[in-house]
Amino acid sequence: MIASLPDVASRSRHVRQHSYWWYLLPMTAGLLLIVLLPFAMNVYYSLFQWKGGLAPMRWYGLGNYTDLLADQQFWSAFKNSVFMIIALVVIPTLIGLVLAAVLFDYLGREFGPSVAAVLRATYYLPQILPIAVAGFIWSWVLAADGGLMNSVLGLAGVQSPPDWLGDPGIAIYAVMLVLVWLQIGYPVVIFMAALQRVDPELYEAAALDGAGWWHRFGAITIPQIRPEVFVVVITATVGALKVFAPILILTGGGPEGSTIVPSYYSYRNFFELSKVGYGSAIATVMSAVIFVIAIAMLVVQRRADRAEVGR
């Protein structure tokens, strides 16, 4: 057919390709208006000393960036980002993998899918709960005197339980605990969905060959759902580098500035200290860091996929 009507086919393909460009317009406009333009403005502002609003803008060149390099507070915020990655990526992903497998593979089979569904929803609940409410609840759970956590520790015989949110040496771990609780539902839900498409015969065959649960988990479950693991790790890492609301609600960066993270520090400079230029510089640096990390992870994923295909 095509061979007999070469002109028409090539022309229609040409027209079609041409008209496709229009479909990209809304996306391009959106990207331009919502992402690229504000980002460019942010970079532009970061070159000035400016209080915002109608105040005069004073040219400062790269001054904000050199100030940033010497800013102790910024570096400690950056260090806290590592803790955020542990709390939002490493721990939830590891626990999420095991939980999803247990729910899907064991509880779902032993007690029926509805039990697994209820439990899955329960793990997801913290993600739905407004962070302001969660923060309020946790501030009572973690209260130093009479809080749930320390009451339990007291019953367990701990003599002087820690001041979770008040001790600058401990507060970051308390925040991490809340974040793990907050985050855990996300990998569980994604991984359980992923497990649906794993061929059950693989498990049956492995079981017949005498593989135990942990063995099957390592040899089948994890390799089979690796794409989803990548997605979770990438999105959660980006989320960890941008984490803001839990810090604002739980600690306000305290005690003594020990739980400040970069996005909160940027916000504080923008809105509290009226140092818009400096806040923009922090935001620009963080965007660059996130961009580089995301690209690096995508490259790793691409390579891993290729290796998988090549095998």
């Binding site: 008040g166 739980l250 005690p255 509290e272």
Partner: protein, 437 residues
Amino acid sequence: MNTLTRRGFLGVAAAGAVATGLAGCGSPGGGSSSKAFKIVQYEDKTSAQSQGWQLALDLFKQKHPELDVTFETTSFDAFRKNAKLVLGGSSVPDVVEFNKGNADGGQLASQGLLDPLDDAVTKYGWADKVTGSMQAFAKYSATGEAGSGSWYGVPNIGEYVMFYYNKALFKKAGIAAEPTTMDEFVEAMDKLKAAGITPVSSSAATSQGFNQMWVWYSLVSAYADRTSIDDFMFLRNPVDFSSDPWKRGTEMFQDWIAKGYLGTKLGGLSYEQAIVNFLSQKTGMLIWNNGSFARTRSDATFDWGYFTLPGAQMTMGSSGHLWGVPTKSANKDLAYEWIETTLSPEVQNKIGELGGLPLAGDTTKITDKVTQQFTARFDELVKADTLTFYPDYPVPGFLDFIQSNMGAMSNGTETAPQYLAKLQSFYDDGRKTVKQG
């Protein structure tokens, strides 16, 4: 789910507001048809002030049956964020409530979004109703600094900081009478401590743990005079924090922390937790403002009383939010009349009866004894001109800075001189930034 419903509700409310605005726009040329008048405010409906304003609204509507009055309620945060857009837009309300201070009211005034009210103040005699320190945050300079210049706002109510105390626990600790001097107050705290009761319920979390900051500033205020406070608050003369009242107040604060008068492990506590700890009888006293007066009355299961820091020369307290008239308001004379209505004896006395600390009420007319005394104490402080505002007003970013250091002092990782040195440099930097404009 919660946020969704709220957002949905707000959407409906906004649509409603737009609809009424449009309805109003359609009719101005109509002559006999009603003229639109829009009031925008953000008070919680249950508050004394808001209930007083409902009465004001009735009075105002009675007087002006020809007007189509809209009384719109927004939220504090929403108005703070959108004030510039709302006041600079094309359909501007006729009269608005706004937040006091350099960062909010000062900016709106200096950017020409609010109209000076000096003529109306003279015409209606508002300066006789809003007096002394209650005027301070109603006035702004051309660069938007509070404390002097033209009137841009008019407050209706005030607030002050006090110590609530548990009479049963005082008795148990062997304290016979309410302390009336600083020495007696310290003695009372010693007795409570000896009886195994935390003397004062406090908190120092960076976010929302304001009690320690209030203890500290109350102690500074105790040894301050009008000039030292106004220099600090309105950036008039440079402040030397290594001298009194700052030195004395801060050293005393450190001493109180060390002696355990204010409790321990405060770094993670919020003011809400401090209030609950007092209401659940874990502590002898609570430092807070009139904001928890009604709550203590309804929730305390014990006999209680209150007093301002005994023997103090000055006391923490301030005026409330302000009424202002947007430059683009189409009905300025009516706006002044509305403000006058909220300051009328009927409205002010209603606010007073409900415990809302009105600035122009007749305190003797309050029927409830406790509320009457509570209001009379406020009147005394205003009359003596000894209110010292809140310490975080003067320079940008001050609240977080003070909070963070309150945490450090409460944890014992920072001494009074260390804090004062940091305070000096932060305040001086901020002062320079503000003065630069």
